[in-house]
Symmetry: C2
Subunit: 81 residues, 2 copies
């Protein structure tokens, strides 16, 4: 069974680069990658926060958050910045 | 031909987690991943800096730096902290 990886992003340039270079680089034999854009799915911000995500873009792999560079804080995302 | 990915780290707990969860997750059909521990190879700090790496752990993929969470700044690494 493949492991579930969630890539949370906010549509920002840093996010797009991370998605193309890193999310697209994960082994498709081992991982199912779901990309969540907070702009399209603001209801999932709380879920990301519970996993420890503080900024976007970030992966959650096996329950652990991995922030990639820095695009926007979740506070900014919630504020619509 | 596989793309070259370098994973720079400093042996810190944040680094080890990132290596296990992310460096180990990259598609082996597409990438050759080299792990560089600054503690073992301090001569490669300058190379990482030239690629834009400011902290460890970080990937350099196709010349672009991707910092993963925050383990240590390169200044700390150079200072032996």
């Amino acid at each position: 069974m493949k492991a579930k990886v969630i890539f949370y992003h906010a549509g920002c340039p840093v996010c797009v680069t991370a998605e193309q270079q890193l999310a697209g680089a994960l082994d498709p034999a081992k991982f199912d990658v779901e990309a969540v854009n907070f702009a399209d799915a603001p209801e999932r911000i709380a879920e990301a926060e519970r996993a420890g995500v503080a900024s976007a873009p970030a992966f959650v792999i096996d329950g652990a958050p991995f922030h990639i560079n820095f695009g926007a804080s979740l506070a900014d995302v919630k504020g619509g910045a």
